[in-house]
């Protein structure tokens, strides 16, 4: 194992007027540490395509993760997929990327637009080998992974974007490569890179995609540990233990909560300096302690971070809010969502007597719930989370 990990983001636009998408992406972690990412594009559109692609993605990812060969998967798919009455074939194209121990990528492609690999700022053409399985031409490749490699998997909706509207022949793979190369060095997350690509497709289609359009971006990055402490321990005797565990961890340290920061300042023997900058009127100002990367208020700030996290996993409409602002919640969001890959939460269960006032919309149970929900959201973002209670 090395210290690399995969940051993955994917998104689909449905064909204009369809409520179901004919493309599907499945991500499965096999027991041996290999991660399988499958993008399948079912023939046609609507419910039929949706079933075809869902079955394909699910069958391939499950079988591969169980250690079976791609030949077995293809045979199973051919035998399982319902045959389309109009076209008399069962058909779904697919792209598989298997990341073995984050050291090597195995790329298996059947009829989707070729996977794009960006490396060191430019396009990197990797050699593929053609094999025929059950009459189907399948491309296989193996690539040693490097930090900052970006893989882009697409359905043909991407390269057909703008056909006959903005462009005569659609947005060809070469055009997509040069477009995405310009964003390589910015340091965007996989999710942001992927949105950039899909937004452009959507624009070229004039807001009415002529086909289901899906892309999945994988960015190979270094693992980045981070620790966040919120709340003093329920037993005062555990103060020292909690603090020494928290500060013994590698990576950046975030401290949330008034009494928690007082505890931290005392432990470090440093001054706690409050600021009066209200960058977001809803969020209390941050503070500073030498040796801590970020000091914020507790419940209100975490609550806002949770709102951002839910939105980031869903519609992602608040990105502009938190991606540049300087208030505590935005700063935590950037650190946890974009920078960190492994997050240790240290949650103290002391009850703040001042917060047990029925007039206030904050109390102990809410605080515990907020942390649990935030940890869940971060897991869904693909991060490794550990929560320790004190």
């Amino acid at each position: 194992m090395n210290n690399l990990c995969a940051d993955i983001g994917w998104q689909s636009y449905n064909k204009y007027g369809e409520t179901l998408c004919g493309d599907n992406v499945e991500i499965v972690d096999a027991a041996n540490g290999t991660k399988f990412i499958v993008l399948a594009d079912g023939m046609g559109s609507g419910v039929k395509a949706n079933i075809l692609s869902k079955l394909t993605a699910k069958i391939v990812s499950t079988m591969m993760a169980a250690g079976l060969q791609v030949e077995d998967c293809v045979e199973t798919i051919a035998a399982t997929l319902p045959v389309c009455k109009e076209r008399c074939v069962a058909y779904s194209t697919f792209t598989i990327i298997a990341l073995h121990d984050n050291e090597e990528a195995e790329i298996i492609q059947y009829d989707n637009p070729g996977v794009i690999l960006l490396r060191d700022g430019g396009h990197y053409e990797f050699p593929s080998q053609e094999v025929v399985i059950g009459g189907k031409k399948i491309l296989k490749a193996r690539v040693k992974l490097q930090e900052n490699d970006v893989f882009i998997m697409m359905s043909d909706g991407c390269i057909h974007a703008g056909v006959g509207i903005e462009l005569n022949f659609g947005w060809q793979r070469e055009d997509i490569i040069s477009y995405m190369e310009t964003f390589y060095d910015v340091g965007f997350t996989a999710k942001s890179l992927n949105s950039i690509l899909l937004e452009e497709c959507y624009r070229l289609y004039g807001g009415e995609p002529g086909d289901d359009t899906t892309a999945c971006t994988i960015r190979i990055r270094k693992r980045e540990p981070m620790s966040l402490v919120v709340g003093p321990p329920s037993n005062r005797d555990d103060d020292q233990k909690m603090m020494s565990l928290f500060f013994s961890k590698e990576g950046k340290h975030i401290v949330c909560g008034g009494s928690t920061s007082t505890l931290v300042a005392r432990y470090l023997g440093k001054k706690l300096e409050s600021t009066l900058d209200f960058d977001d009127p809803e969020i209390p100002p941050i503070a500073k302690i030498e040796g801590v990367d970020l000091v914020t208020e507790g419940v209100i700030t975490i609550n806002k971070v949770l709102t951002y996290a839910r939105d980031y996993l869903g519609e992602n409409t608040m990105y502009m809010d938190w991606s540049s602002k300087r208030d505590g919640a935005s700063q935590i969001a950037r650190l946890l969502f974009e920078e960190a890959t492994d997050i240790n939460f240290y949650v103290g269960r002391a009850i703040n007597p001042a917060h047990q006032n029925p007039d206030l919309p904050i109390n102990f149970n809410i605080k515990m719930q907020l942390v649990d929900e935030l940890a869940d959201c971060l897991k869904k973002m693909g991060k490794r989370i550990k929560v320790s209670y004190f």
Partner: protein, 79 residues
């Protein structure tokens, strides 16, 4: 003179931001920048009385509505 206003969770919900903006404005209007040191602090442990504003060691309970009054009585009068 040193004034500290609480920016903890509870006081924040009770309007500490408005209180702070008001006090900052009054300090400017009265040209007291050299005489008054104004800072924020996390929870003072007296949330029931929030918004807590400490003037040279004495904690006062202030709300956005009473901020101007408070400034008159506790700051201007004693400077």
């Amino acid at each position: 003179m040193k004034i500290t206003a609480c920016v903890g969770s509870s006081c924040h919900l009770k309007g500490s931001r408005q209180v702070i903006l008001k006090i900052q404005e009054l300090i400017r209007e009265n040209h007291l920048e050299d005489k008054v040191e104004f800072a924020g602090t996390f929870c003072m442990g007296k949330c029931q009385q929030g918004v807590c504003v400490d003037v040279d060691g004495v904690v006062h309970s202030v709300s956005p509505d009473t901020a101007a009054d408070f400034f008159q009585k506790e700051v201007l009068a004693k400077i």
